[in-house]
């Protein structure tokens, strides 16, 4: 057990701190969720790439920094930017999901054309996986693409396309082989959101905001070379990046930040003569959550160490999403309780605390529990992969394909 990162890493950390001190004034305000990066944010992103603080391991020829992989340095970067409360580079679906996919399975032409522009934030992507009828059961998707005059002609509907309004491009799963079995008939296409026949309708959620969209395709025509991977292999192309998104959702820094905000709130919020933190019952819940957050931070360090050694994450990794979402949700719930009647203020009400962030988080985190791999599906994964428990037996009436889909345990139902 060694919590020190060692001298060369200390130097790296010092270098980042110096960078932050010198450039802090250039950082854009905290990114507004789901918006297109501003010119300022794009400049900041380019500066970060130039110094290797984001897009660090992506080859320089495709617009990255081109460093050798070093998880610890990535961790230090995350820690230092989190501590400084600065954005450590863009995090959007293009960067987290499309870029790794192209790096692995794209043609050289696709890589050159899209990766650099995506990394800088100049090209914004949205993701077209989920459909109203294909949530947990993604293989059930119905959006079709038939070939006509050397073009795919796409018809159908996607849901949960979070940045569709702002996006230039979409990476999208469509059914190209109608007669093939459920998984093997899917292809992975990339195309412009400006093509005629695409309609984006904002999807308002329980938070009162439209963090997502529904996207409709009517005879949308896409050249046949805008496919990533082989025709009919889209399922496997998409799966290559699903792991990336799963990882994103459990961020111990984010949990720690929420906890610190909660502590601050409970020290300020008054109840009669005292403060919320002076209430023994609320305080007991606070300390219990602090223990949970500390455990998740330690668990994160353990996963990191395992990765450094090239060891698999095992159970420590499988449980991250389920537990982090749950703990985050409980943090918001306690904040609401600590505020008492004030806890229900929202929609920019007078006396609203922190811009309604606690209520927004309470609801949005519930969305995260539901989406991005529902809690139910996460539990199946933990039981079947982590604990090696037996699969559900075959059903009498169900086709083998549907069963295969169940086996993949993949979910695209929710919030990114």
């Amino acid at each position: 057990m060694d919590l020190d990162y060692g001298p060369q890493y200390d130097a790296f950390r010092a270098e980042i701190r110096a960078f932050i001190d010198a450039h802090r004034h250039l950082a854009p305000p905290s990114a507004i969720r789901f918006s297109r990066p501003s010119a300022e944010a794009i400049r900041w992103q380019k500066l970060l790439i130039e110094h290797g603080y984001t897009a660090r391991t992506i080859p320089a020829e495709y617009g990255g920094y081109g460093a050798a992989p070093d998880i610890l340095k990535l961790r230090i970067i995350a820690e230092e930017f989190s501590r400084a409360r600065l954005p450590s580079g863009l995090a959007n679906q293009g960067i987290s999901m499309l870029v790794p996919t192209l790096l692995e399975l794209g043609t050289d032409e696709q890589k050159r054309r899209w990766i650099a522009a995506t990394l800088t934030g100049e090209v914004v992507w949205c993701q077209g996986y989920s459909e109203p009828g294909a949530g947990s059961d993604l293989a059930n998707l119905k959006t079709s693409a038939r070939i006509e005059n050397g073009e795919f002609v796409i018809n159908g509907q996607k849901i949960w396309t979070s940045t569709a309004k702002q996006a230039d491009m979409i990476f999208c799963l469509v059914r190209t082989e109608l007669e093939a079995s459920k998984h093997s008939g899917i292809s992975y296409l990339i195309f412009s959101m400006d093509i005629p026949g695409i309609e984006v309708r904002p999807l308002k959620t329980m938070t009162g905001h439209a963090e997502f969209n529904e996207t409709f395709f009517t005879n949308v025509r896409v050249p046949v070379d805008q496919i990533v991977g082989q025709r009919g292999q889209g399922w496997f192309v998409a799966n290559a990046t699903l792991g990336h998104e799963r990882g994103m959702l459990g961020d111990p820094d984010a949990l720690e930040n929420r906890l610190q905000a909660l502590i601050g709130l409970m020290q300020q919020e008054s109840i009669g003569e005292g403060r919320a933190i002076d209430n023994a019952v609320l305080r007991d819940r606070l300390v219990a959550l602090q223990a949970e957050v500390t455990a998740m931070k330690c668990n994160g360090m353990r996963i990191l160490s395992n990765s450094l050694k090239g060891e698999p994450g095992g159970m420590a990794k499988l449980i991250v999403k389920l537990q982090s979402c749950e703990v985050a949700h409980q943090i918001s719930a306690l904040a609401i309780d600590a505020m008492g009647e004030m806890g229900i203020l929202y929609h920019r009400s007078p006396r609203e605390r922190d811009g309604g962030a606690w209520q927004w988080n309470y609801m949005f985190q519930l969305g995260l529990i539901i989406g991005g791999g529902t809690a139910q599906i996460q539990k199946n994964i933990i039981a079947e992969r982590g604990l090696e428990m037996p699969r559900e037996p075959k059903l009498a009436r169900i086709s083998d394909e549907a069963k295969g889909a169940a086996g993949m345990q993949t979910d695209r139902q929710g919030a990114a």
Partner: protein, 363 residues
Amino acid sequence: MDFGLSQDQQILRDAVARCLADTSPLEHVRECAGRDNPLSDTIFGALHDLAVPAMLVPEEHGGLGMTLLDAAVVAEQLAYAVTPAPFLASVVLAPIALSEAGTNKQKCQWLPKIARGEARIGVAISATVQARDGAGVQFAEGKLSGTALFCLDFEGADAYLVADAGGRLHLVPALASGLKATRLTTIDRTRSVGELSFAAVETDPLADDGGTASARLRDAGRVILAADSLGAGQAMIEKAVDYAGQREQFGRPIGSFQAVKHMCAEMAARHEPCRALVWYAAHVFDALPEDASLAACHAKSLTGDVHRFVARTATEVHGGMGFTDLLGLHYWFKRIGFDRQVLGGPEAVRAEAAALQGWTRAA
């Protein structure tokens, strides 16, 4: 011995339910919830046709002289339809306050109008539960000063009932000079709340009863909020069960998956005893007043916790759809969130319940 609703109460329940099914469909709720003043005149009119505003007004003042249990039955239905209508303060608390502590003049002036649906009174007693942000209203030299938060049934009120720091209730016309009324907006857009600030405002005080009447309002308010939570929880469970029966994944309705079934069963198992408890708390408010405060605390805190669980779990059963605005499930979710916090969250209310039983000493 009959622990349950009387035949009249069942008729009332069914009549209100039918009325709201007609007048408070989700589209109308949605429309109201988008407004600054969500309270629906259409719905209030329809409730008036059922004599709802007259329920708790004594017969001698033109009302029906009904009980809090009758009101709880109505509250459950209002929540079941996430009804954006004035009720808790104007139909329940104000008539109780005036009947129990009003002067004869106050009664004669207001009660008949309330019964006829011609006057509405907002009620602000939240500082008697937990004073937040230094709120509180002082009564000195015949005038009120200070701030009262979370005035219920705020919009469109003709007057407000406010508890002062000693728990005495005051009636203040909405247009009184020195009174500033500010709208507050909560997650629950089907309710209307506001903030009242008083700068030496003339008041018409109710009886100086040492806080008895405001304590009664707290009890009644908690019971009605518990009943509201019950109705909203009932709706959410039914919606979850329906959705689980229709939505198919992996070739079968998700309601046939054991995990989903057990989520629904746990909701039902925790929800169902709340119904009897709410009935009991409402009943003893009139029939056994010495048990009323404790029973109100129990009903409020238990429904607060149970229905937070129900709201979350029912939403989870709906998957992504539950998270969207499309189905409108969130209106019930937020109504439950409102019911939980107003007039004291579970922890605060349990602390009171402990004190009522003499269990509180220095820790």
